[in-house]
Symmetry: C2
C-alpha cells in the first residue's frame, strides 16, 4: 500500500515522538525502582503492575482514591518548578485513604503533556517517586501521554491513584464517633491542593504579583508559598491508628472544614469549631484581604491552616498532639448532639 | 478579616462552581451504584472507595494499570459525542491487566474540565459505568476536576485506573511461551485508542473531512469510524484463561504489534507475523493511502486490525477461535527461536 514517497506522514510529524517517550521512560527506571517493596512483583514496562496482597493485614479491604493537583499546576508552570507537584499528588491521595484507616500499598500516576519535555517529565515523576518512598508506597506504574494540540506549550496535567489496605474491623467509618469527642486539627503547610483558581486570581490578577515577588505579610515568595508541598499525615497518624486512639479522620480538601468534616459524622451529630483555637496562617489572611473574600467563602474554599482533623476522646488528645510532633496540632473543637458545623 | 464588601471575590468568580460539581455528582450516583458487586463496601462520596479482597482467588496478586484516551477525545469533541470514550478507557485498562491473567475488580476515573458542563460529565461517566458493568468491575470512585484556564471550552481530559486480581500461580509472565506456539490475532474494532494524532492529521488536515463526512472506502462516517469503541477481550478470553489454554497475551496498543508482542516474549524467542493472514480493515488502508504513510510506520502506530494477540499451542487454536466467537480471530503467525518480530 505504501508508495515509498519520502514525504509520507510519520507519527512524529503529528507531534508524537515515540523515541522521546521511550527515553523518558528509561530515565525513570531507577526512580521507580527505588520505591519497590517486598510485595512489588513487576518491573517497569509490564502491561500492568503486580502487587501481592500483603499477608500482614487480617481480612484485608482495599481502599482506593483518585485525584489530581488542580490548578496548582499553573503556579508550577509559572515558576518552572516541577519537582513538588508530584509530592502534593501522592500525599493528597495517601491522606484520602488514611482517613478510612488504610495504609498505602501502591500508586500509579497519569501525566499528560502536549510536547514531551523529558526534563519536565523527569522532575514531575521524581516528585511522585520521592513521596511514594516517604509514604512507603510502591510506584507501581503510570501513563505518560503525549497529546499534541491538547495542552499549551510547557503545560501538563497530572493525576494519580492510590490503593491501600486496612483490616476489615479497623475501617474508620464514623461509627466510633461520639458526642463529646474532641477535634484535633493538624497544621497544613499552606493551601495544599485546594482553592488555587481563586488564589491565582487574587495573587496574579488582583495583586499583579509574579512568582518571585513576596506575598505580602508572609515573608515568602509567591512561588514558595503557593508551591508548598501538600503534607502527608501518614507518619503522624500511623501510631495513633495502630493504638486505636482515633475515632475518625477528616482530610480538609476542597470544601474546607464545613465541606469535609460532616462527611464523617454519624447521623445526629454535629460539631463546633473554635476559630480562636489556632492562628490562621499569613497566606490565608493575605488572600482574604487582597481579594475581599467573605469569611464563610474562605472557610469553604481553603483549609485555613488545618489539613487534617482527628476526632478522638478528650483523654487521647495529648497522645495525638504528641504524635503530630513538629507538625503542630491544636484542640480546635468538639463533637456535639445535633447537626451541621458551627463556628464560634 | 472580611470587610463585608459585596464585590469581594467568590470561588465561582474564579470559574469554579462547587454547586454544579455537587449536582453532577448527584446525577452520577445511580450510574455508579449500578456497577456495585458483593465486594464493594463503600458508597459514592466517601474519601476513598472500599473493596474487599475477593476470597475466590488463591494467593491473590493485584494487577493495576493507568491509562488515558489520548487525542481520540478530540474526535469526541468534534462530534459532540461523549458516551463512548469512557467505554474505550475502561476496556483499554481491562485489556492491559487481562494480559497478565487478571480479572478486573474495580476502576476509578479522572475527568478534568475547564468549565463543568453537567450533561457532558454525565455522558462521559455513563460510558465509564456502562463498560464497568460489561466488564463486571465496580466503578469505585473518581475525581471530576474543574480547572479553569486549563482546558479549552468544551474540552476535557479523561484518565482511568483499574485494579484486578490473579492467583499467583496463574500470572501470565511469558514463561509458558515456547517456540512453535501459534499467534492468534483477535479483531480490533478500528483504531482503538492509538494513533489518533496521526489519524486526525490525515483525516481532518490532509483530507479536509468533517466528522459527518464519509471516510473514503469505509462506508462509515469519520465520527463513527474514529469513535468506534475500543474492544474489551475479557469476555472472549475468560474461559480460555480458566482452562489454561493461553501461554501469553499481548494487547496491541501504541507501538503496534512490533512494539507490544516483544514485551511478552522470553529471551531467545521471536515471532513471524503473516501479513496475508487477515484483511487490513478499510480504515487503516484509507489512512495509509491518504497520508502516504510507510508500511513500517503504519505497523508501529496502529493495531492494523488486530487488538489482542493470544499465544497458544497449535492444538488449542480452534478453542481460542471458538471462544472469540463473533469477534473474529485468525492464526496470524508463529513464535520462533531467535529474536525480534519479522513480517512476511
Amino acid at each position: 500500500m505504501s508508495d515509498g514517497r519520502s514525504d509520507g506522514l510519520r507519527y512524529a510529524d503529528a507531534g508524537v515522538d515515540l523515541d522521546a517517550a521511550e527515553r523518558a521512560k528509561e530515565g525513570l527506571r531507577s526512580l521507580v525502582a527505588s520505591t519497590r517493596d517486598c510485595f512489588t512483583l513487576s518491573e517497569l514496562g509490564a502491561f500492568g503492575g503486580l502487587y501481592a496482597v500483603p499477608d500482614d493485614v487480617e481480612q484485608p479491604v482495599l481502599v482506593s482514591s483518585a485525584d489530581g493537583v488542580g490548578t496548582k499546576l499553573k503556579v508550577a508552570f509559572a515558576a518552572n518548578r516541577h519537582d513538588t507537584v508530584g509530592q502534593c499528588l501522592v500525599n493528597h491521595c495517601v491522606n484520602d485513604i488514611l482517613v478510612q484507616g488504610a495504609r498505602p500499598l501502591f500508586f500509579l500516576d497519569y501525566l499528560a503533556t502536549g510536547e514531551m519535555d523529558e526534563s519536565v517529565v523527569q522532575d514531575v515523576v521524581r516528585g511522585v517517586a520521592i513521596a511514594c518512598r516517604e509514604n512507603r508506597c510502591a510506584l507501581l506504574g503510570g501513563e505518560t501521554a503525549q497529546m499534541p494540540d491538547f495542552y499549551a506549550a510547557g503545560e501538563y496535567d497530572l493525576a494519580g491513584f492510590v490503593v491501600g489496605a486496612v483490616a476489615r474491623d479497623r475501617i474508620l467509618d464514623g461509627s466510633r464517633i461520639r458526642a463529646g469527642d474532641v477535634l484535633v486539627g493538624l497544621a497544613s503547610t499552606g493551601l495544599h491542593t485546594n482553592g488555587y483558581s481563586l488564589a491565582r486570581r487574587i495573587v496574579f490578577d488582583v495583586l499583579g504579583l509574579g512568582v518571585d515577588d513576596e506575598l505580602p505579610g508572609t515573608g515568602r515568595t509567591v512561588g514558595d508559598e503557593l508551591l508548598a508541598v501538600h503534607r502527608s499525615y501518614l507518619g503522624a497518624l500511623t501510631a495513633p491508628l495502630a493504638e486505636e486512639r482515633v475515632h475518625g479522620l477528616a482530610h480538609v480538601t476542597g470544601g474546607g472544614i464545613p465541606g469535609n468534616l460532616p462527611r464523617i459524622l454519624p447521623e445526629g451529630l454535629g460539631a463546633v469549631v473554635e476559630r480562636s483555637a489556632w492562628e490562621i496562617p499569613a497566606v490565608f489572611r493575605a488572600l482574604q484581604e487582597a481579594g475581599g473574600v467573605e469569611r464563610d467563602e474562605m472557610d469553604r474554599v481553603f483549609n485555613m491552616g488545618i489539613g487534617m482533623i482527628v476526632v478522638t476522646e478528650p483523654a487521647e488528645v495529648p497522645a495525638i498532639v504528641g504524635a503530630a510532633g513538629e507538625i503542630g496540632a491544636w484542640e480546635i473543637g468538639r463533637v456535639i448532639e445535633g447537626e451541621g458545623i458551627g463556628y464560634r
